[in-house]
Assembly symmetry: C2
Homo-oligomer: 362 residues x 2
């Protein structure tokens, strides 16, 4: 039995979109492909509120995170780390011999503008990496406030991993001055994995032109050269691109503001549910993600058992990430999930919780 996915990626994909994957293949140097590619870019620019170039990468997000640090730093990268995925950005610098310093924040806490300001004042950094929505902890860092601080540092490239929130929350790329914002499509886009989207600023291309070893598959300038003619340098992930074309039509038909509102509503519903069942929110409420809720397992249930019971009913949520396994659990509410589907899941959880033993003294 297929389990309906309420995990923080991959998200559940609607059958009509899955069916688009099975479109017969076309040559990636054909006019048909360029038409497809060229049809998608302006739709993505709408979703991202940007005039910047938007790229389609045949890879998961990790590759494009790595591309950021390879293309955008000649001095030192400030890597803001408050969870498993933001930590990767620091590890990528090390794996590529790129000087970097970690701004470490406790898991479950957000990255705040004053922390960044204090660091950047030294003038030693030329690139900042920050994860907007930490999938490991359910924290959304206030990128809007960080963006205000970043205006003081025009020479510092502003790279935002929006992996688990892009297409689920409003990201005004140009207003915030993001040099790179990126996301894999298997999260709030509600598409199957294998494709990553990024918007890249002109400032970023100018910087890239000064960096010597940008790599080949990761080279922003080579991507731009091909993207300008609605192609990719290497073979694109054509099935996912067919699906994205259709899904963007559906996203725009829903209406962007409606989509952002729906995600806020589902988040509120889920937060209230876990709190009212004795599971506090892991992050402070004002920094809670709008696409996934991470709750503290204060009642000492066995999360794996909850998920096993859910599985029998055709649903799946996530345990805590890494060291947070069994100490927290995560319920995703991203992509195309409706209010009714969310309520159905939560009703099942409510039902199962009545039967699960807890480790808390009465």
């Amino acid at each position: 039995m297929h389990k309906k996915l309420f995990i923080p990626g991959p998200s559940e994909v609607r059958p009509s979109i899955l069916a688009k994957l099975a479109t017969p293949q076309i040559g990636h140097r054909s006019k048909d492909y360029s038409d497809l590619h060229g049809r998608i870019l302006p739709k993505l620019q709408q979703v991202l509120y940007t005039k910047n170039d938007v790229f389609l990468w045949a890879s998961s997000s990790t590759l494009v995170m790595e591309a950021c640090v390879r293309n955008l730093s000649n001095k030192k990268v400030l890597s803001c780390v408050n969870g498993a995925f933001s930590k990767r950005w620091a590890q990528m610098c090390t794996a590529n011999g790129i000087p970097n310093e970690v701004l470490q924040v406790e898991w479950g806490k957000p990255i705040l503008p004053e922390m960044i300001d204090a660091k950047l004042q030294s003038g030693e950094f030329d690139c900042l990496t920050v994860v907007m929505n930490e999938t490991s902890t359910g924290v959304e860092s206030p990128i809007d406030e960080i963006a205000e601080v970043m205006k003081k540092y025009p020479d510092v490239m502003f790279c935002v991993d929006a992996v688990s929130c892009m297409a689920g929350v409003k990201i005004p790329t140009d207003e915030w001055g993001l040099d790179v914002v990126l996301a894999g499509v298997q999260k709030a886009f509600a598409l199957p994995a294998g494709l990553t989207v990024s918007a890249i600023s002109n400032r970023a291309f100018e910087r890239a032109a000064t960096v010597k070893y940008r790599g080949y598959y990761t080279d922003f300038l080579d991507m731009k050269k091909y993207n300008d003619k609605n192609q990719t340098p290497a073979t694109p992930a054509i099935p996912q691109i067919f699906a994205m074309d259709a899904q963007l039509d559906d996203i725009l038909a829903e209406g962007l503001d409606n989509r952002w509102e729906r995600h806020k509503r589902l988040a509120e519903m889920t937060r209230n549910f876990v709190e009212s069942h004795g599971f506090p929110l892991f992050p402070e409420r004002k920094y809670c993600s709008k696409t996934l809720t991470c709750a503290v397992n204060a009642k000492g249930i066995v999360v794996a058992d909850l998920n096993k019971e859910l599985g029998k009913r055709g649903f799946q949520i996530s345990n805590g990430y890494g060291d947070l396994k069994e100490k927290t659990f995560r319920i995703a509410h991203m992509g195309d999930v409706t209010d009714a589907e969310m309520k159905e899941l939560l009703d099942h959880i409510d039902d199962i919780l009545k039967t699960l033993p807890t480790n808390v003294q009465a």
Copy 2:
């Protein structure tokens, strides 16, 4: 109207395999995913005649070519270049600051063992890159003969790009001692683009452990760590992996020897067809690819017009690559193409050629 693809990638994908792409998504840290991943690896090992580790990369082949030079050289790479795709390997070294020397051979000619032997004798190289089947020119270099020479140089990593021939011709990985053999699945595997396969030797892992800046997405050792538990470090291209599982069953059901024989037969049919129509083979016959035929446009037809007419009938072949455009044309016969389908295409070409003007004096 869909055009049936006889271009050297992407190949035509059968509807039953396309349908597998639309399988509902599963979490990539779930048991279901590990079962799928673990089911595929031994089947790929059969296709590649290897006991080496086989990896599934969410990327096109280009990324894995780049991974080779990033993981396997501390001294200098010898890049054998006899076409557009082999040239990329040299460019990747440059883009990553990896010392390399180009062994340049004229387009249309193969890389021969004595050329490599002459170069490697200097002892300055620790990695060799060679393309088995040059998609730009239709040349198959004699990897079996090169493998004999490579036995003299156990410290030189032997990297083979088999992009447009893997799963179309026999590649006895272990017998030849290939340290890396890689291919995107949109060629002779007859799967949709977005997934790359590689087999990596233990010797290669040992070398990688001595190389400092292997990158993150490209790191062979990180891939191995996850592959050992039937996972990938980053999110995999799940739709293509579902399709590959089914396609490998079909490939093994056809029988590997039958599959190699079919490709030889289709190649012979196509070579004879073009020659008998006044188009000489671009490479010397003994070095002609078994998965695609590159013919010289000796009659001075307009290849674009031939393809336009074919398009009206629901078929597509390829023009020459880059500077060889209109000077050559390419007909692919890879993947799941049957004898009858090949004959149907060639009959159409025969028919169209009767109507196309030529530039050759009678």
